[in-house]
């Protein structure tokens, strides 16, 4: 049987290819564990209205994206949602509020996901013959891809090609006997005549007529969904390669198409099993409406804590300005610091401070900037981990038997100190840039580039016109032990690493005398009196470390001492609040620092901190609006003053970069909470690492994306993260926001299709408006004339 002889008709091929391509585009990227940053799991769907996307995601991935009715019912019962919230939201969906409330009152608790209308051949064989082919194929593909990817994670020298992905899969199918042993005879032989090129293979499968053009895309999406984790990883690989980011996924899809064809030919259908799928569009709509009602409550309560613009404006040159990352965890510390003294002012800015670095170490690239950007500066790190690597190699060689005899006793100490030892103060990822001399090459930046970088930091963070005496750029990083997902606790804007490196680089540039002289000329008053410092907020213990610069005056030295005192006090207050959120009470006589530090260093701790869980809103406004509001560590705070943004360029920048990153984080937590089995990686107790590539659960299986259950659920199994979409609140007039939206099409897609919600807080009229999906601005909340900001 040589199907390759039937020359594929080109139009078929083009159709099949485009179906495959569009299915591949629905798969979000997944990055390796060292550079693990949040990704919007619905990235491929942002151009599709959310309610339509939900149905198609269910068909492809068997995934339920929204919480079930029971979730809303619980909140309805304890007044988390009230009738008027429902009626307001219902009017936006053209629903009768009574119907929605009736659905809540009905007893139906569990909405099982109905069987998908698209069925793979492997699934048919499982139904008909009882051979678990979906699992066997998944394991086969996972093994194969892991063995070609595990060594290359992030390694520049070992790039693999898409055709290698396809060829490896098909060639191994000729060798691996697991599927034949499970009862599919002739499997290995079948693959002898398979095309060796993946694009050709797609046409070849198409020519067999297997590709029903009406469901081709859905079929390809489901195929990729059966290998969701690896498909995502391959998308991430393409993403980093900088060219066409879909090619690797296409190669995988081609192989999966060939496998499914093999199954259909080797295991003919014996029974007319048909699946029935029921449409539950009405119910989805009801849940969408309840979701909005639930979110309305949250926005109302946050807005009600905002200050009116009539408050007196901030002082012109404060003593201390501390610029934090917009990460929700800084909100608590910022609030606590500002409460200590009026001399301190804090700001929010993307935590890489505009310094897009590629940190190259051991020949491996590690971009320290948001994944939406390309690194501009390359920085070489010292080779590291040489002796550990040699140790690992020796311990996996045939010499390991005797080496264990000679050195095994040494592990008594390790096991004892980790198992019983009192927690020692651990160190975060090494973020010092000391080995690299700034003076030597000034990061390879020309003078103009350095000035441009410094100017953009000062302008976009909004401090340029009122520089403080001491300005701290404060990155952040988390600490945890034995945590494969440690990078998810670090700074997402720094590519899943701690932000101190970027902060130090930014500070080196800002403190450069030549740069300052030029900035002074360009009208940045007071820059000569300003000392820039780099800092790092340790989100596990809330300690702030300052990195000392070479430049100092006696007055500055005194002020730095004072500031450090504030950091110590602020951190202590911050820990109090966080410990309460962790459901722990302090132990009398024990410093909370010790408790939290102990958690960070404990190898058995699965919840070292809550990370960005419960994130809910993104607020781009002047800080004094929120200065006295307790936002419970749930808001990304970005400084924005519409008055200084005449051409809307700053707003455009905020919407098209930090706001999108925040939405990625938000939807990652959302999906990992609501359907962890699909979009998360299950319990940590079963996680099994594949080098630095990612994790699987248990023995074998698909790579798992997203967050572990322990990062989003409480120990008792209830949800700690609150699944709400990102509520973006911008302090600007609706007209201004519309102008910025037209220049930020990616963000506009998210708004239009309902993947987040956008509110405008007009600085003049204090009126809050909600951007409706059809583009209109509606006054919010709906009850007429009800001004929410007091």
């Amino acid at each position: 049987m040589n199907l390759a002889e039937q020359t594929p008709i080109t139009t078929y091929e083009a159709n099949a290819m485009s179906a495959v391509r569009s299915a591949c585009a629905l798969i979000p990227p997944l990055f390796d564990l060292e550079n693990f940053v949040a990704v919007n799991p619905f990235l491929g769907w942002v151009k599709t209205p959310i309610d339509m996307a939900l149905a198609r995601i269910a068909t492809g991935l068997d995934a339920d994206v929204l919480p079930d009715l029971e979730f809303y019912r619980r909140h309805w019962q304890n007044q988390g949602i009230e009738s008027h919230d429902i009626s307001e939201a219902a009017s936006r969906f053209w629903l009768n509020p009574d119907h929605v409330i009736a659905a809540l009152a009905e007893g139906e608790t569990d909405i099982a996901i109905s069987p998908s209308s698209v069925r793979l051949e492997s699934e048919r064989v499982f139904d008909e013959y009882g051979i678990d082919l979906p699992k066997l194929i998944r394991r086969f593909v996972s093994r194969t891809l892991a063995s070609i990817c595990a060594h290359r994670a992030g390694n520049l020298a070992l790039a693999i090609t898409p055709s290698q992905v396809y060829r490896e899969l098909v060639e191994r199918a000729r060798i691996d006997r697991t599927i034949e042993l499970a009862g599919v005879s002739g499997w290995r032989k079948w693959f002898v005549s398979v095309p060796s090129d993946y694009e050709e293979a797609i046409g070849w499968v198409d020519a067999t007529g297997r590709f029903d053009s009406s469901v081709a895309e859905a079929y390809a999406y489901r195929l990729l969904g059966s290998q969701y984790g690896w498909a995502s990883y391959l998308r991430g690989m393409g993403w980093n390669s900088g060219t066409d980011d879909l090619v690797f996924v296409e190669a995988l899809c081609a192989a999966l198409l060939v496998f499914d064809l093999a199954i259909s030919e080797l295991m003919p259908s014996i029974a007319g099993h048909t699946r029935q799928s029921r449409s539950n569009h009405d119910e989805t709509l009801i849940r969408m409406c309840l979701q909005e009602a639930y979110e309305d409550r949250l926005v109302k309560s946050q807005l009600s804590t905002f200050h009116k613009a009539t408050l007196e404006p901030p002082m012109s040159h404060p003593d201390f300005q501390v610029i934090f990352c917009i990460d929700v965890r800084s909100e608590i510390l910022r609030r606590k610091l500002e409460a200590l003294s009026p001399k301190i002012e804090t700001g929010g800015f993307a935590g890489f401070f505009g310094v897009a670095v590629d940190f190259v170490q051991n020949g491996q690239s590690s971009p320290r900037c948001p994944v939406l950007l390309n690194p501009q500066i390359e920085m070489a790190g010292r080779p590291s981990g040489i002796f550990q690597s040699a140790f690992r190699m020796a311990f996996s060689s045939p010499g390991a038997f005797n080496l264990i005899e000679v050195f095994g006793a040494g592990f008594l100490g390790t096991l004892f100190s980790k198992g019983f030892g009192s927690p020692r103060k651990g160190r975060p990822e090494d973020c010092s840039i000391a080995p690299i001399s700034y003076k030597a090459n000034r990061f390879g930046l020309t003078f103009a580039e350095r000035v441009g970088l410094a100017e953009s930091i000062l302008t976009n963070s909004g401090i340029g016109s009122r520089l403080g005496r001491i300005v701290v750029l404060c990155g952040h990083g988390g600490r945890s032990s034995n945590n494969a997902h440690a990078a998810s606790l670090d700074c997402g804007a720094c590519g899943g690493h701690c932000g101190a490196l970027n902060a130090q680089m930014a500070v080196e540039v800002l403190n450069d005398p030549d740069v300052r002289a030029e900035l002074g000329k360009r009208g940045f008053e007071g820059i000569y009196e300003t000392l820039f410092l780099a800092g790092q907020h340790d989100t596990s213990t809330d300690e702030v470390t300052l990195y000392q610069p070479s430049y100092h005056s006696e007055a500055h030295r005194r002020m730095v001492g004072e500031l450090q005192g504030f950091f110590v006090e602020g951190a202590a207050a911050c820990r109090e609040e966080r410990v309460r959120a962790m459901g722990m009470s302090g132990i009398p006589g024990v410093d909370l620092f010790d408790i939290l530090d102990g958690k960070a260093n404990d190898w058995s701790e699965v919840r070292p901190e809550w990370g960005l869980a419960r994130n809910a809103s993104f607020i781009a406004a002047r800080r004094f609006r929120t200065r006295e509001a307790n936002l419970e560590g749930r808001a990304f705070l970005h400084d924005y003053d519409a008055a200084t943004d005449d051409d809307d360029s700053i707003l455009k920048l905020i919407l098209s970069a930090p706001a999108i990153v925040a939405s990625w984080i938000n939807l990652q937590y959302f999906a990992s909470t609501v359907h962890n089995e699909r979009f998360g990686c299950g319990t940590k107790a079963l996680l099994n690492r594949i080098g630095k590539v990612g994790v699987i659960s248990g023995n074998e299986g698909d790579l798992r994306p997203g967050l572990p259950i322990e990062s989003v659920h409480r120990p008792d199994g209830t949800w700690y993260h609150d699944p709400v979409r990102l509520q973006v609140i911008v302090e600007a007039s609706p007209e201004k926001i519309d102008r910025a939206l037209s220049q930020a099409p990616d963000f506009a897609d998210l708004v239009e299709n309902g993947w987040l919600r956008l509110f405008a807080l007009d600085p003049q009229s204090e009126v809050v408006c909600l951007k409706e999906r059809d583009g209109r601005w509606e006054i919010f909340p709906g009850e007429a004339g009800n001004q929410i900001v007091k």
């Binding site: 981990g385 010499g399 005899e405 390790t414 080098g691």
Partner: protein, 473 residues
């Protein structure tokens, strides 16, 4: 929680017992238990690992509705394994042996919603029952021969008569083979990863040593039956090869560790076959501590590892030979008296290990340091390993007073097999890159990822015996 503390107290007592046994060399027997240096050190390992695991579990499974039951079964498994290791009375030994398996079964099926976990646990359960039968047969045979169930008494009679019942010793060996995951009974071990990490740590570091402990306890009988040594040597060597080649094919950390345990247990069994009981004991202790640490810490992403500069096969071979040549003289020089075949085997294998250290060192260290630094370090390391190894075996041989082999042709062959196997395995490793370029080599690699399908065949056999549908976890 009381259980971690309780286990820690027992571990301390075992440690104390071990220290006391060095004060007074005479073993203490008490109500069917024997407290000797051997049993106390094995007991210390299993309770120490048990205590660490119990403490670890407290936070690791925090909030799990079955956490309390989990910890109880953990304690049950550890205490019955301890009972087995300390037993002098054969009935206690069999009892402890069987109860350990039952406790472990509950731990393995902690997530009984995981189909994988259930299949592997059943496989383990059935294999353990085979081991039970073998052990019971041994018990009957010993009782009929000596009229006693006390191992001390039985071994005294064996020593004076220089004879042991062959059938009983073979049954003991078979029981040990089933218990310590030897080919062809190894397949459950790499498949039990659908259970929480601490279970793997306990199993791979503590409970799996039951087989080795059994062999060490019966060492006075084993030396009397050279054919049993040959069996252990053969089975151990085969297991060593299958385990290690499969390990090289694995991509996930826990599977690598699990297959590594298979091969390490193979090596330990082969050492028992060589009658190198001291070496086997040191191996059990070292491996247990290493493996527990490795499993419990398996979440840590390796520090930035550099890419090794791949050495060619022939260059590696030269380094291997250099390592062997540098490591052997010191070991020989430090050895008192005549060197037995068993000791030669150990010396040769340590030499191979040094050779592999050389290869690993050259692959990585030359990237950052000069060649002369690398060489000086490596020569230093080779002498250090040789010294440690020689001193350790010398001291342990004197202190533990485990039986030494009687010279015979069979026992010489038993010593040869593992050394040759290890040499073959080493050469395969050095030329792996070259081998993988030919299609047979590629095929071996793909098959090795699947553990050469032995596990899959065992699964289908088990599912025929024990139907999943009737299973009530």
């Amino acid at each position: 929680m009381a259980i971690p503390v309780g286990l820690a107290v027992v571990a301390c007592l075992m440690g104390l017992g071990l220290i006391l046994s060095f004060v007074d060399a005479k073993p203490l027997t008490f109500e069917g238990f024997i407290f000797s240096r051997l049993t106390c050190s094995l007991g210390f390992l299993v309770t120490f690992v048990g205590a660490v695991v119990a403490r670890y579990t407290k936070k690791y499974l925090d909030g799990d509705p079955k956490q309390a039951a989990f910890t109880q079964f953990l304690a049950l498994s550890v205490m019955s394994a301890l009972c087995m290791m300390l037993a002098d009375n054969l009935l206690l030994l069999v009892g402890g042996w069987a109860i350990t398996s039952i406790g472990l079964h509950h731990l393995l099926t902690h997530y009984n919603g995981e189909a994988d976990a259930v299949v592997a646990a059943r496989k383990k359960f059935l294999i353990s029952r085979l081991g039970d039968i073998a052990l019971l047969l041994a018990l009957v045979s010993i009782y009929r021969t000596y009229g006693s169930l006390s191992l001390t008494q039985v071994f005294d009679q064996m020593r004076s008569s220089h004879h042991a019942p062959v059938a009983a010793v073979w049954w003991i060996c078979l029981a040990a083979i089933s218990k310590s995951a030897q080919f062809p009974f190894h397949t459950w071990l790499p498949d039990t990863l659908a259970s929480p990490t601490p279970v793997s740590a306990l199993m791979h570091a503590g409970i799996i040593n039951g087989g080795g402990a059994l062999l060490l306890k019966f060492s006075p009988a084993l030396v009397e039956v050279p054919s049993a040594g040959l069996l252990l040597s053969l089975v151990g060597s085969v297991t060593m090869v299958i385990g290690m080649v499969s390990m090289w094919g694995q991509t996930s950390i826990k599977r690598k560790l699990a297959w590594s345990t298979v091969s390490q247990m193979g090596f330990m069994t082969a050492e028992c076959g060589m009658a190198a009981f001291v070496a086997a004991l040191i191996h059990i202790l070292g491996h247990g501590l290493y493996k527990a640490t490795a499993f419990l810490d398996s979440g840590t992403v390796e520090s930035a590892s550099s890419q090794s500069s791949r050495l060619t096969g022939s260059r590696s071979l030269a380094l291997l030979i250099a390592g062997v040549a540098l490591a052997i003289p010191l070991q020989v020089a430090l050895h008192p008296g005549e060197i037995s075949p068993t000791q030669w085997a150990i010396i040769a294998m340590t030499g191979l290990a040094v050779g592999h250290v050389f290869i690993a060192g050259t692959s990585f260290v030359t990237q950052v340091r000069s060649a002369s630094f690398t060489w000086l370090t490596m020569i230093g390391v080779s002498q250090l390993i040789a010294l440690l190894s020689a001193v350790m075996f010398r001291v342990a041989t004197e202190e533990f007073q485990l039986p030494l082999p009687h010279p015979s042709v069979t026992s010489m062959i038993s010593c040869f097999i593992p050394v040759l196997t290890l040499m073959g395995l080493s050469i395969y490793r050095l030329f792996e890159a070259e081998i993988r370029r030919v299609s047979t080599g590629r095929a071996i690699y793909v098959h090795s990822q699947n553990g050469f399908y032995i596990g899959q065949l065992a699964d289908s056999l088990v599912s025929r015996i024990w139907n999943p549908v009737t299973w009530k976890g």
